[in-house]
């Protein structure tokens, strides 16, 4: 009995015209009613058949606009090209060469404003579903370890690099530097890896298992991760400089910005960081009898409309909220969150209370939050950012009954490391200043991610990690 090569089975033989006529793949999703009450991943991923068909839609442009749109410059047409021929192992190789966290990016990147926005297919039809394909290839690699095992052939350089923070920027830089033969140690302040990927992004958007596997892969490349080490407290930057040839600071954003409205310290008022950390990192409310407690509100108001706000409100819904609301002073058009997140939130029964600004949290005699006093707004003239400025409508107030309020306004720079590194130049917001090649004011010390940018996205942090790794490599070669 002769066996047909598997690759040929999956490769549809389509004419150019047929390929152009293919509709964009639809991401299979769990039913909204059911998923809004559990933490299972919302998007279930393309099947192999769907992925290979979708890959046929790529025109493999010579002028790779999609790559220009990607902060880590993934070789998009190349990995999709390999996938289109059914050679998924090759697609894995291409992808891994450019990104340390493809399974993460494939899930949480805002492709619609990056690679997919630049896709030439978007002119006449819909862009190639690059994100879905990246996720498919990365997940396939995780499920086929034997076929995708990577052994480093690079000669060790004997150079050592300390990375501060095990989030997207740190992990990306670690992967890049390890592949270049440098010995990398990551120091993480929390007890587990992943940084914001673990404490910030909920299980239903990025399962923890995915982070574990991506991190494990870096371990195979020789990256060592030490948890419970807070640089600036357990050890100083100066100590790291003495012990390592180079340092990359990627300790992330830190302190939550406060609402600065009355009632902020009532019980039931959380920062997004606290709420998400309790649930995501500590498992509060996700497992029966979780040791870390959380207030599971019936009526939850989340202030803000970015991705973090969406994560909070959808988490609150899953914890059992009857009414989970986004409170935003502008309209849906101005919301900074990804379209997909807003769409998913709506499907899950999230209410959007728009043109509404919080004035204060109201409490009962035992100081539990019971209401959110709000000012109704109207959009005025466009401001400097081009967005129409929300203006209060005189006399228009509303009090929403709530028992939990979550502030998702954003974060400011974490001072723990910088406090104990007086030579490190900061900007007026406390973020680390870097030059165009990610170098800080201290020789051999580089920085990237949110500690430089303020609050940004996973992919921008990864882009910084990749850029910094290049600069660090150049620096190490010159030593």
């Amino acid at each position: 009995m002769t066996e047909q090569p598997k690759n040929n089975d999956n490769k549809p033989k389509l004419s150019a015209k047929e390929r152009m006529a293919l509709p964009r793949a639809q991401m299979p999703e769990r039913d909204a009613t059911i998923r809004s009450r559990n933490f299972e991943e919302v998007n279930t991923g393309l099947t192999e058949e769907m992925a290979i068909l979708e890959a046929q839609r790529c025109l493999k442009c010579k002028n790779r606009q999609c790559v220009e749109g990607c902060p880590v410059r993934v070789s998009i047409p190349e990995f999709i090209g390999a996938l289109a021929t059914g050679n998924i192992a090759e697609a894995v190789r291409v992808l891994r060469k450019d990104t340390a966290l493809p399974a993460v990016c494939g899930r949480v990147c805002p492709q619609e404003t990056q690679c997919e926005e630049k896709c030439i297919r978007a002119v006449k039809a819909k862009p190639v579903a690059i994100g879905y394909l990246e996720r498919f290839v990365a997940d396939w690699a995780m499920n086929h370890p034997a076929e995708t095992h990577e052994t480093l052939t690079v000669t060790p350089t004997g150079k050592t690099v300390a990375i501060v923070g095990c989030g997207p920027a740190g992990l990306t830089a670690a992967g890049e530097l390890a592949r270049l033969g440098h010995k990398v140690s990551i120091f993480e302040a929390l007890h587990d890896t992943g940084g914001v990927l673990r404490y910030g992004i909920p299980e239903f958007r990025l399962p923890k298992e995915i982070i574990d596997k991506e991190v494990a892969h870096l371990g195979e490349l020789g990256v060592v991760i030490e948890c419970n080490v807070i640089i600036g407290k357990t050890m100083t930057l100066e100590e790291l400089r003495k012990d390592y040839h180079a340092v990359f600071i990627a300790n992330g954003a830190g302190l939550p910005m406060m609402l600065n409205i009355p009632g902020e310290n009532l019980k039931g008022v959380y920062s997004a960081n606290e709420f998400l950390t309790r649930v995501n990192l500590m498992g509060a409310g996700q497992v029966a009898d979780s040791t870390t407690p959380i207030i599971q509100g019936d009526n939850v108001a989340v202030i803000g409309a970015g991705n973090t706000a969406m994560d909070c409100v959808r988490t609150a819904r899953r914890l059992g909220a009857k009414r989970a609301m986004i409170i935003y002073r502008r309209t849906e058009a101005e919301m900074p969150a990804r379209k997909e997140e807003i769409h998913h939130a709506k499907e899950e029964g999230i209410e959007f209370v728009l043109l509404t600004a919080p004035l204060g949290v109201v409490g009962n005699s035992e100081n539990w939050a019971t209401g959110l006093r709000c000012q109704k707004m109207a959009l005025g003239e466009p401001d400097a950012s081009g967005r129409r400025k929300p203006m209060p409508i005189e006399g228009a107030f509303e009090e929403l009954p709530v028992d939990v309020v979550i502030n998702a306004l954003g974060t400011r720079a974490n001072p723990l490391l910088t406090q104990t590194a007086p030579d490190l130049k900061l900007n007026k917001w406390g973020n680390i200043e870097i030059n165009e090649s990610t170098a800080t004011s201290i020789k051999g010390v580089f920085a990237g991610g949110d500690i430089v940018r303020g609050g940004a996205t996973v992919i921008l942090a990864m882009g910084d990690g990749k850029k910094a790794a290049g600069a660090i490599h150049e620096y190490l070669c010159g030593l």
Partner: protein, 282 residues
């Protein structure tokens, strides 16, 4: 994993654990704390570093077994391991020579006070230490604090040891005499005790430092759960504290926020008892 070298019972439900954590031992200063997680899946809880031995690479943690998580910790015997110990966190105590100071410890707060007294003694202060407890078995570290202090005064609520009554009674007496009146007061203990001390020293404007114990998760400023009101300003106890000017602290808010999870904590303890779990029970 952090090895527990010894586990000693100092008072009913109050244990002293000596834990191997060389980096923390080397970096810590008086007044700082660690975040500890007994095992995978357990809560992160803040514990003051009572003492450290840089040579041996160890820190001493004083743990009062009041909830499910602390009971689990004190059940770890010598030779066992604590999963996570992260620190040192918080700002170190500002140590200077005030001259004559009073250091007041209530209950487990006395253990938190110990490194402060040690530091203040090294800075050359003349120290009167007041230790308060419910009854005689709850008065801890007499020997250690006595060795560092010029005077050691004890109080118990029931009069079973030292003066019957509260630490504030003794402080009042010290303050009434210009010869003994402290130039600064350090108070660590339950909120109501620290509040009473701060109220007593307010009129005479005696600088009064208290160490706060709000609920924390990460301990690095990330979550803001430990926020306290100090002089009308929001401060994070984990990065701006844990020590603050006692005259500016809103103790009522602290007490209130500490009660956030009391229902959940009670349920966790009930579960613990229902499982016939006797951990931490001496």
């Amino acid at each position: 994993m952090f090895k527990v070298l010894s586990n000693e019972i100092l008072a009913p439900e109050l244990h002293k654990l000596v834990v191997v954590a060389p980096r923390v031992a080397k970096a810590r200063k008086a007044g700082q704390f660690v975040i500890v997680r007994a095992d995978v899946g357990d809560e992160r809880i803040p514990l003051t570093i009572g003492d450290a031995d840089v040579e041996a690479g160890t820190v001493s943690l004083f743990i009062q077994a009041i909830g499910a998580s602390t009971r689990k910790l004190v059940a770890i015997q010598a030779g066992g391991f604590i999963r996570d110990v992260a620190g040192p966190l918080g700002l170190a105590t500002h140590l200077e020579n005030y001259g004559r100071v009073a250091c007041i410890g209530g209950g487990v707060g006395t253990a938190v006070l110990y490194p402060l007294v040690k530091g203040l003694a090294q800075a050359g202060n003349e120290i009167t230490t007041i230790i308060g407890g419910r009854s005689a078995p709850y008065v801890i570290l007499q020997k250690e604090l006595g060795a560092l202090s010029k005077n050691l005064l004890l109080t118990t609520d029931d009069g079973s040891l030292g003066v019957k009554g509260f630490v504030t009674n003794v402080l009042k007496e010290l303050m009434s005499n210009p010869e003994t009146c402290p130039k600064a007061v350090f108070a660590v203990g339950p909120g109501p005790m620290m509040k009473a001390v701060a109220e007593m020293t307010r009129a005479d404007k005696i600088p009064t430092i208290v160490s706060l114990n709000p609920i924390m998760i990460d301990g690095t400023g990330m979550c803001g759960g430990c926020r306290v009101d100090v002089g009308g300003e929001v401060k994070f106890a984990c990065v701006d504290g844990p020590e603050f000017d006692g005259h500016l602290v809103d103790f009522d808010l602290l007490r209130d926020r500490l009660s956030t999870y009391k229902d959940q904590e009670r349920r966790a303890l009930d579960r613990c008892s229902a499982d016939k779990c006797k951990i931490g029970r001496s």
